[in-house]
Every structure is written in C-alpha cells, then in structure tokens.
Amino acid sequence: MLTRKEVEEIAFLARLHLDDDELEKMQGELGAMLEHFGVIAGVDTTDIPPMTHAVPLELPMRLDVVMPSLTTEEALTGTPRRDGDLIVVPAIIVGTES
C-alpha cells in the first residue's frame, strides 16, 4: 500500500503542488492502480530484454552544420518574466548540476 508520505515524496520529486484533498485522493487512486498492476510481478521475464523502442533502429546522425534557427525574440515569445534577452527566475541558491 502506498503511504501518504510516499505520495508526498513523489509529488515533491515531480514538483507538483497537491493540496490535502488531492494528496488523499491520489493516495487511494494510485494505490488501487498499483494493486491492479501488481500482476506483472508474477510474470517470468528472465532473459527477456526490455523493449525500449517500438521498432528496432540505430541512432541516425546528422552532419555538424549550423542551421538558421530562432531569433532571440522567437525563442522568448511567451516567456513569463524577462529582463532584456534574459529569462528571469526567483534567485537560485545552489549551484548548477550536470
């Protein structure tokens, strides 16, 4: 069974604000689904490679040639907060990850 705490953790990971009602409903609904989907645990899949793609393909590659693309204005149309050519967000405290 899915605990309330787990639901909150998943919501945090997914950066979804859920209010109390939503959290409670979600707990019940996700719990029911996971129970229903539990049947897969009993299926023997030894040595079956997971099917990541619907059709077998190799990665195509393109040439390293610059193509005309978005202007800054096109790139930033609809950006909720801007300062000139920059996107503005609330202050970030921690450093970058990569």
Binding site: A11, L16, I40, P50, A54, I92
Partner: protein
C-alpha cells in the same frame, strides 16, 4: 454525392476543386459557417484559424487558375488535434499550462499537409496531453458525440473524430498512444488509422509517451485515410525514430479485395465482457469477409491481459519525463511563488489537470530508483513478450481482426474511477506497445443508434493490408450514407 461540401470525401473535394466545379474558398467557407453554427454545441474545435484557412484556400484557387500543379490534398479542409504544433497558431495540448503559447515552428505533418494543398481549419479538442479516453479531460471544453450529445466522443482525439463525423472537416489528424485515434473513431463512426510506429514523423507532435505516440488520420472513408496517410508518412531527419522505408501508394490498396487474405481472430479479444451489439456486429463483419473470400484463423495472443498494466506503467513513466519541461519558466503559464521551488510546484500544480497529475505521479513512482526494475523495466519486458506474441501470429496470418472497444460511446461522467476509464482501452493498447499499424473501421450501429468499430492490426509497415481489409469491411458492413443525427439537425 451531396451537392454541398460538408460530407464530401477527401477524394471528392480534391476532384471538384481541381476541376473548378467549386472554388477552394467556397468549400472552406461552407465549412467555416457550419463550424460557426454547430460547434458551439459540439465543441470539436479549441480554436479556428479562419483567416489562415481562407488565405490558403485562395492560394489553391490561384494556382488552379494559373495551371500550377495542385497537391494531392488541394483544397481539403482539415482539423488538427491541438497537440500538433502549428507556427503562429496557438497550440495548447488541451492544457492550461500551455495557454497562450504560440509556436515558432510547424510540425512535420503540418508542413506536409500544407505542401499538399490541405487547408487547416483549426485545432481540435483533446484530453489534456492526450491522456484520456473521452475528451472529458480537456482543460478547456467538453466535446459531444455527434450521434448522441449526451455521450462522449471518445478520446483522446475526440475533437478530431467529432469534427469529421459531424461534417466540420473533411479529414483530421489525431494522435494515438494507446488507442486515441481508433477508439474515438469507433465511438464517432469514422475511420481512424494509427500507422506503424516510425511511419509518420513525431517532430512537432507534443509528446505524451514517446515510444508509443503516432500521428494518423481520421476520415469518413478508408480511402480518405489512405490518401492522408500517404501525404503525412515518410522518413524525417528531424525524428530519430522515423523509419527510412518507402511509402507505398496507400490509396491504391483500398480495393475491398480480401480474396485469400488470412485474417486472425485472437481469442483473448472475444472472451471478455463485450457489448452484445458489438459482438454481433463483429460476427456479421466476419461473415461478410468470408463471403468475399477471406480465410479466418483462430489465433492466440496469450499476453493480451498484460497489455493494460504494461501500458499504464510505460506510458505514464515516459509522460512524467516528457512533461517535466512544463515549468512556467520559458513559456506557458507561471504561478508566482516564494522561491524557485515554489514557482515550480505551483506552476505545475495549477497548470496540470487531475488526470495528468495522476499519470505524472504514477510515472514518477515507476521510475524511482529501487522501483525501476520492478515497474518500468518489467513493463518493458512484458512489452517484448506482447510483441513476440504478435510476431508468432503474423507468421500465420496477414492481419488480425478484433473489436475496437468493448462498449459503444458512454455517457459523460460514466466512469467512476480512473481505473474504470483505463479498462475501456484493453483492445487498443497492445498495438502501440508492439508498434503495429492499426485501424478502426465502422462496422455497424448498435440498438441505441451508436456506431461500432472493428479493429484491424497489421504487420509492421504493412498498412497496405490493413487498408485493403478495412475497405472490404467498409463496403460490406459500413455506415454508407448514414450520418450522425444527434446534433443541430444534421
């Protein structure tokens, strides 16, 4: 053949526009007024682009007058599901989180339609991000089933199906991740074709589940579906999962000839709870095809029952990832918050509807470290087993025939829980998991006067056989000239 263009087939429209019997502008105008009159009740469109449509229609007429060769869809008025990206035309995917976004580029399918002379009327309603089977999950409006307005049109391409069924477009494009073209096609009495995964470019298709999504046509005839597919199919360098395979003349396959064709009937698709009317319609379909010389074979797809859990783990997992980009930072709606984390959580919390949140939650759960093996990876292994079932069956038969849905179109708010809704998809999911082409063709009307769909599943890249079988069903047990009577006195 009617003298007014609203129910003309694609083939008719192209012929009449090309011969000058009607101008593209007049044909398009007729549909625009019909949309103005009827769509307030039907709710098939989220937005229309009358200016753009008339401009493109005028261009077709100019070319005709100047004897410049016309494209294969010249003057054909088309609706696009609103998860297909259109340059300069707002694209919402049925979600509040994309409200106001005006894309700076076109989807490949949109470019191809335009190049073929098609005229884009507007953007059709859908379940938010394609997640749903009734179009009730659109953040914007309800789409009604033109056969009975108290019922859903199906989903998620509900707007696309309803528009074509009600004569508000000659054809439309939908997307199909787990049945989202075929199921609404069945509910609305139109033809819906989901091509082989990779047959049609996904560039500009707003991703729901990347390894399952395909674009395909919804039309009133099988031949029309083939014509539209022929235009939108083909290798695209902008989509790394696009197949570099020749595109056959699909429309030539709509001959109705099934003599000697081997058709498999998978027992798992006929043994569960299915409406009696649907069962009877399928029986009539089988009998009619036998008359035409088709050979039937009982086959088994033993992992069919596992398609639902596999699908509802794989699709939400990919969705949780694909929808991570909607954060209110670069485009779309941002909710203000006390800090960055707050902005993320509130923008996403307010921007997504309940079904989308549910799937993001489920998908996030399935991908967490420590759970990945038991859920996502396991589901992908089961997917491989499902594919293997089909490979074995297709060694024996040319195509598989099943019902598209276990029930006809249901009433609004009929599904008590999300899981109840998911269970309605049992017949359409395996096709996407295995990457196969699939089609729903009308094969009768229920005692309630609602359309019934037959589903054909083909070998990878063998849309031709699916189209051939589909055209035979259409000729034998199709709806003919029957039109939905549920709306605006159609």
């Amino acid at each position: 053949m009617s003298s007014s263009p609203e129910f003309w087939t694609v083939t008719d429209t192209v012929k009449r526009v090309a011969s000058g019997e009607i101008s593209a502008v007049r044909a398009v105008n007729t549909l625009i007024s019909r949309i103005t009159n009827l769509d307030r009740e039907l709710g098939a469109y989220l937005s229309t682009d009358e200016t753009g449509a008339l401009r493109d229609a005028a261009e077709v007429d100019r070319r005709r007058k100047e004897n410049i060769p016309l494209g294969p869809l010249a003057g054909v008025p088309i609706a696009l599901k609103d998860n297909l990206v259109t340059r300069g035309i707002p694209t919402t995917a049925g979600s509040k989180i994309l409200q106001g976004w005006v894309p700076p580029f076109d989807a490949t399918v949109v470019e191809k339609l335009r190049a073929a002379g098609a005229v884009i009327l507007g953007k059709a309603n859908l379940d938010e991000f394609g997640m749903g089977s009734s179009t009730e999950r659109s953040a914007y409006k309800k789409t009604r089933n033109p056969w009975d307005t108290s019922r859903v049109p199906g989903g998620s391409s509900g707007g696309s199906a309803a528009a074509v069924a009600a004569g508000l477009a000659a054809a439309s494009l939908g997307t199909d991740t787990g049945g989202s073209i075929r199921q609404p096609a069945a509910f609305c009495g139109v033809v819906g074709l989901k091509p082989t995964y990779g047959r049609v470019s996904r560039w500009g298709v707003i991703a729901f589940a990347s390894s399952l999504d395909q674009v395909g046509p919804l039309t009133r005839t099988v031949k029309d579906a083939a014509l539209v597919l022929q235009v939108i199919a083909g290798h695209d360098l902008r989509d790394s999962t696009s197949l570099d395979a020749p595109v056959p003349a699909f429309a030539d396959a709509a001959t109705g000839d099934v003599k000697g064709m081997k058709i498999g009937l998978p027992k798992e698709y006929f043994e569960g709870a299915i409406d009696a009317d649907i069962r009877a319609a399928l029986d009539r379909t089988i009998a009619a095809l036998k008359d035409k010389g088709a050979l039937f074979d009982d086959v088994s797809l033993p992992h069919t029952k596992l398609a639902l859990p596999a699908y509802y783990l794989v699709a939400p997992a990919e969705a949780s990832s694909n929808l991570a980009r909607y954060d209110g930072i670069r485009y779309g709606k941002r909710a203000e918050g006390t800090d960055l984390l707050d902005v993320y959580r509130k923008s996403r919390g307010a921007g997504f509807g309940p079904e989308v949140k549910r799937r993001i939650m489920l998908g996030t759960y399935a991908l967490r470290s420590g759970y990945y093996e038991a859920y996502y990876k396991k589901a992908q292994q089961i997917r491989a087993l499902i594919k293997r079932d089909f490979d074995e069956v297709f060694a024996k038969v040319d195509v598989v025939l099943t019902p598209t849905t276990p029930t006809v179109a249901f009433r609004f708010n009929a599904k008590a829980t999300p899981l109840d809704m998911y269970l309605g998809d049992i017949f359409t999911l395996a096709c996407n998991l295995a990457g196969l082409p699939g089609m729903s063709v009308p094969c009768g009307i229920s005692s309630d006067g609602l359309p019934i769909g037959a589903q054909l599943l083909g070998k990878p890249l063998d849309e031709v056989t699916v189209i051939r079988a589909g055209s035979a069903i259409e000729a034998a047990v199709g709806l003919g000239e029957r039109r939905p009577a549920g709306i605006g006195g159609i």
